[in-house]
């Protein structure tokens, strides 16, 4: 990301952003509500367009990608509501393969594989509807869906925000193992500093549309920036 600014009308959401994500790394975008982290995430899959500057994914600017091609090559996990309420778990999981025209047998096999990967028994969950799942199960399905077409890059927007603390910790652990094992690059948005430190190889701290800190979790703890210290203080409490 080079010199990216996003404006909504007169309001500036992110300003002169320079950010690089290395292959295989998990970058956490941390910040308060409205600090520009979700906007930054959406710049990567072109749900938001830069007003100035450019965003480069897989060697090409997002402006030069066809939006739906770009998005199908990126796994996207969203909080809670992200599953389609009228699709079964299986159809949700294999949505991108369906859009890509995989044949049904291959999709079925893929759904089972993905459900197993995220710890859900395929026979028990395949035909369920999202409303019949617990919050934790829904997020597992969301992750399975994001991984189904085997994208190299995952975007996660507060995926565990609405979960109870125990389930959240469980999913965080599994997520860390999974991204490492599958060698995925991940950009993870959260306002939870504990989650950021636990999952991030690197943390980018946002304040008022700018990145005020960019470095490892250890460097984050000892950073002198006031916003970083405010967040780090939560860790010690």
């Amino acid at each position: 990301m080079r010199g990216v600014t996003v404006r909504f009308g007169a309001q500036v959401a992110v300003q002169e952003l320079d950010l690089v994500v290395a292959r295989g790394e998990t970058l956490v975008l941390l910040g308060r509500s409205g600090s520009g982290k979700t906007t930054t995430l959406k710049l990567i899959n072109a749900l938001c367009r830069p007003s100035a500057g450019e965003v480069i994914v897989a060697g090409r600017t997002t402006a030069s990608w066809e939006p739906h091609r770009l998005r199908r090559s990126i796994g996207y996990v969203i909080q809670e509501i992200g599953l389609f309420p009228h699709f079964t778990v299986e159809r949700n999981v294999t949505l991108v393969p369906e859009l890509e025209g995989w044949d049904p047998a291959r999709r079925r096999a893929r759904a089972d594989e993905m459900l197993t990967l995220v710890g859900l028994e395929p026979a028990a969950f395949r035909t369920r509807m999202p409303r019949e799942l617990s919050g934790g199960q829904r997020q597992r399905v969301g992750i399975a869906r994001a991984l189904a077409a085997d994208p190299p890059l995952l975007l996660l927007d507060e995926p565990f925000g609405a979960l109870d603390p125990l389930t959240r910790a469980e999913l965080q652990r599994e997520f860390a193992v999974l991204t490492r094992r599958l060698d995925k690059t991940a950009v993870f948005v959260t306002h939870d500093v504990r989650e950021a430190v636990r999952l991030g190889d690197r943390i980018a701290l946002f304040a008022a549309g700018r990145v005020v800190f960019d470095g490892t979790p250890d460097a984050f703890r000892s950073s002198g920036h006031p916003e970083a210290r405010a967040f780090a203080a939560v860790l010690e409490s």
């Binding site: 996207y76 509501i81 599953l83 009228h86 949505l95 859009l99």
Partner: protein, 211 residues
Amino acid sequence: MNLLEFVSANRAEFLGLVWQHLTLVTISTILSILIGIPAGIWVTRRPSVSGAVLGAANVLQTIPSLALFGLLIPLPFIGGVGARTAIVALVVYALLPVIRNTVTGIRGIDPAVREAARGMGMTDGELLRLVELPLATAVIMAGVRVAAVVGVGVATIAAAVGAGGLGVYIFRGVATVNDTLILAGALPAALMALAIDAGLGVIERRLGGAK
């Protein structure tokens, strides 16, 4: 002569009028679906025209039905005396509920679901076909049911422009102050409205279950 005697004595004519009536309602409802759903979708894509389209459909519906039939008669192509004029008028009445419910149904979808669909890489067409229309089906079908039921009632007036239907008995009954004749038109029309409503309800559940 009571109602049953009348109907059995004039069975052929009665069934012919029922059939005419049903045809008028069926054709006009299908046309209103074919026009109204795309119009509704178009409106959701261009919020700037939504006021104008819904307003126009609203105004058309406030025209008293007998007057609308009368106004259409002198018009070229769509007017004249007969079934065509009646169908045009019926479509005009049926459009509002279909358009409005299509718009309401699609707009009522959680924006987060729509954004998730885009984020997954759906094109506009896929978003509409896989997400928006399925999730709006119940609301759209409710509009179609209203349109069909209203259509059954309004179609009784089609007899005034020579389109036939059960209105023939009603107008004849009013003219000759014959309650039996009025009932011979009104009662089957009411039953038809109930039957159509129930039938569409079954279709609606099928559509809901097919996903």
